[in-house]
């Protein structure tokens, strides 16, 4: 028996050595391998391919399996993180900075003549600039507008919509375009959007999530309540948008480019709120004729801007090489590629004002690129409070929005409760974090929400 175990042990050691010796090379000889944790968007591989062609000494690889802030932070802290990773909002950026894994590249970029604060769209700066310091460079950026299906409009004999326009006009049109069968089941919706786009509505109603200084949650303001109420009314009052049940009935499984995009592409809706990046999927739908018009507005003609920045892992052994990717993102090659791929808009403002942006020779039918640029000019990035964990805030807000969406609470009740819960969370954070408490004191002159001066 002892001989059996000994032989097994030796064989296992031998197999381990063999596996080690034949492990695949991560980079070709003489090249430095870089890993970029990003989503598996079909456009991403082409962006990587162009970078590799332009940088003969580097091999950039996509790692779509380790996306997610928690994975990036834990792996980077453990010394096995990626060289480059994406960041989607200010909360994530603050988390990466506070975790100590985001490399401050302000000075490095300045040496190269790059200033993200001046060169990139405001909506994407929230993903790479934190408290005046640059920790990365914008990757892509966009603001939503209303897609419309030209074939449906032609079939119904309705002229294509033109912006700027207001919600009452839009709702009348959406009602004309919504059709139901004898059982009341919708065969075509006038409009589609996702509830996570609720901030798009909030901003244009003049609402906010946090007060200007970020010390209070103000989602219980009449403006924000009115915005959530409109979302609710589009489903239950005007009945132009799918309810959760109707959404589920049309649901496809998850994955990149699923949900509303595929439903819209499959002629289930006449109009949909979405971004330019939808084209990455919609270009594959044969015979789909698309148009784009600015989103209707309420009080303010502003739209939610959002994007993605790419940051460098502070613990990466290849920081200087990774920096070349940020330089690549600032250049014409990359920005034009993003524009041609329609993966939203490139991060650098000036390239969107070149004639090449407006007309992609491969897709002359896409004559609406100016709409995306105009929307981005009016875009406002997501608000952020340094006094609350963004993930906690998101969970609490989503729970209340769920209750509105499911007809369990009115918009007013839900937003009142959300504000209460978020402000309680802010107060709790101040009790636990002396640094946060000091910052709060400096900002407000008070020691706690509603507390003594």
């Amino acid at each position: 028996m002892r001989v059996f175990f000994a032989v097994t042990f030796v064989v296992l050691i031998g197999l381990s050595l063999l596996a080690w010796s034949i492990r695949p090379n991560v980079a070709e000889p003489g090249k430095t391998a870089l890993t970029w944790v990003s989503d598996d968007n079909p456009a991403r591989r082409e962006q990587i391919s162009l970078f590799n062609r332009l940088h003969k000494d580097l091999t950039l690889r996509l790692d779509p399996n380790n996306t997610g802030m928690e994975k990036v932070i834990v792996q980077s802290l453990a010394g096995v993180g990626p060289d480059l990773f994406d960041c989607y909002d200010t909360f994530q950026l603050s988390a990466y900075v506070k975790s100590g894994i985001a490399w401050d590249v302000t000075d490095e970029l300045a040496k190269l003549g790059l200033d993200p604060a001046k060169q990139t769209w405001k909506a994407v700066q929230a993903d790479s600039i934190y408290e005046g310091r640059a920790y990365g460079f914008g990757n892509n950026v966009g603001a939503d507008a209303v897609w419309f299906n030209k074939s449906i409009f032609d079939r119904e004999g309705i002229p294509y919509p033109k912006g700027p326009w207001r919600w009452p006009e839009f709702i009348k049109l959406a009602q004309r375009l919504t059709h139901r069968d004898a059982n009341g089941r919708a065969t075509q919706f006038g409009f589609m959007c996702e509830w996570w786009q609720w901030l798009h509505f909030v901003y244009q109603f003049g609402g906010r999530v946090y007060s200007e200084d970020g010390t209070r949650c103000v989602v219980d303001s009449p403006e924000t309540v009115a915005a959530v109420q409109l979302l609710y009314d589009l489903i239950y009052k005007y009945k132009v948008m799918p309810s959760p049940v109707e959404e589920a009935a049309m649901a496809t499984q998850g994955g990149w480019g699923s949900g509303t995009i595929t439903r819209f592409g499959a002629d289930k809706g006449a109009m949909a709120l979405g971004g330019r990046w939808w084209l990455c999927t919609l270009r594959d739908y044969k015979g789909l004729r698309l148009g784009v018009v600015e989103c209707p507005y309420s009080v303010k003609r502003v739209f939610r801007g959002y994007g993605k920045g790419t940051l460098i892992n502070k613990n990466s052994p290849h920081r200087q090489e990774a920096l070349k990717f940020l330089i690549y993102q600032a250049g014409r090659d990359y920005n034009q590629l993003i524009s041609d791929q329609a993966d939203a808009l490139g991060p650098v403002v000036k390239f969107a004002y070149e004639p090449r942006y407006l007309m992609n020779p491969k897709h002359p039918e896409e004559d609406y690129n100016v709409v995306w640029r105009d929307a981005l000019e009016r875009a406002t990035p997501d608000q952020y409070s340094p006094f609350i964990n963004g993930q906690v805030a998101l969970r609490l807000l989503n729970k209340q929005l769920d209750l509105v969406k499911n007809n369990q609470k009115t918009a007013k009740e839900a937003m009142r409760d959300a504000a209460l819960q978020l402000n309680r969370e802010i107060a709790r954070g101040l009790e636990q974090d002396p640094e946060l408490a000091r910052r709060y004191r400096e900002t407000t002159g008070r020691t706690a929400p509603g507390g003594a001066q």
Partner: protein, 326 residues
């Protein structure tokens, strides 16, 4: 007295050393990957450790425990977890019934056994996606059947919205521990319980009962039948007492599994929603640790969950064991 070992002792020592040597890899693995993290998490539960490093690291004593015991969310998710245990008796009874049917000496019974065990070796994620489609409120087969039945009987009862609804058969409130009339109905929690019962009925519990049934002495049943006992009396007075040790084991294991469960379903089917109604303690711990980065708090929650599991097992052991004769 000499320093030399006798031949037998020397061989024993060599055997011991060899045994320890071969046990070492497994033992090291256990220490590094199991007991180490467990002890580490206990230590972490007494700290304010936050992966974002916003707060200076410090010991907070029982602060995390105090906070979570006063946390209404923790209470809600504990209630959700307990609610999911409601399906346990049905699943166990179903396993027993199925095992009794499959213990018959019939032609092709092995095929039946394999078919009923199929859910246990099918990918859990695949099953959950399948059930998600079954529960589709508008086009899912479950509601199609309900609609057909209610329509045939001329009943005006709306079919449940399953995974989209916050309602539940006990009428538990969504935002606080308590009851609310408007929550009375069938919703996401019940959908997950039904799926759990379906999975568990033909699973390992059925195999355990099958094995236990083969060990019931045939002569006892025959003696009872000779004394005039009917099938129900044979089961009640002969088979059931003989199955008591197995039942006890299954109940204990199901309790442990139930208290720790709900993670995959929440992750794959509902993301813990709607409105947190399918968030269990296990999923809440994951959210706190790896989405909100509150490692100290999540570690404390893990240890409270461990205490709940331990207490439930101890109670089961103390009171359930009385009915068991080995």
């Amino acid at each position: 007295m000499t320093g030399k070992l006798r031949p037998g002792e020397a061989r024993n020592r060599r055997d011991t050393v060899a045994a320890l040597f071969f046990l070492l890899p497994n033992f090291l693995g256990f220490v590094i990957f199991t007991s180490g993290p467990v002890i580490f998490s206990l230590a972490a539960s007494f700290t304010n450790w936050n992966l974002q490093q916003t707060v200076p690291f410090r010991w907070v004593g029982f602060g995390n425990y105090g906070r979570l015991l006063a946390d209404p969310e923790f209470h809600l998710y504990a209630v959700n977890t307990a609610y999911f245990l409601l399906g346990m008796p049905l699943a166990i009874a179903g396993s027993l019934c199925l095992a009794m049917m499959l213990s018959q000496k019939l032609k092709g019974i092995v095929i039946y056994r394999t078919l009923f065990y199929l859910p246990s070796f099918t990918s859990g994620v695949a099953l959950m996606i399948l059930w998600k489609a079954l529960y589709n409120p508008d086009f899912g087969p479950v509601n199609a059947m309900i609609d057909w039945v209610t329509h045939s009987l001329h009943l005006s009862i709306a079919a449940p919205q399953w995974l989209l609804s916050t309602q539940n058969v006990l009428g538990l409130d969504v935002e606080k521990v308590g009851f609310a009339a408007k929550q009375l109905g069938i919703g996401a929690r019940d959908a997950i319980i039904i799926m759990g019962i379906w999975t568990a009925v033909g699973g390992n519990n059925m195999l355990l009962y099958l094995a236990a049934l083969t060990n019931v002495p045939q002569e006892l049943s025959e003696a009872a039948e000779l004394d005039g006992a009917g099938p129900w009396q044979v089961f009640r007075n002969v088979t059931w007492p003989q199955l008591a040790p197995t039942t006890f084991f299954i109940v204990v294991m199901s309790f442990i599994g139930g208290l720790q469960g709900g993670f995959e379903q929440a992750r794959v089917m509902t993301a813990g929603g709607p409105a947190g109604t399918t968030t269990t303690l296990a999923y809440h711990i994951y959210t706190k640790a790896f989405e909100e980065f509150q490692i100290g708090y999540a570690s404390a929650a893990s240890w409270v969950l461990f205490a709940l599991v331990f207490a439930a097992t101890a109670i089961n052991w103390k009171f359930g064991n009385r009915e068991v004769s080995y």
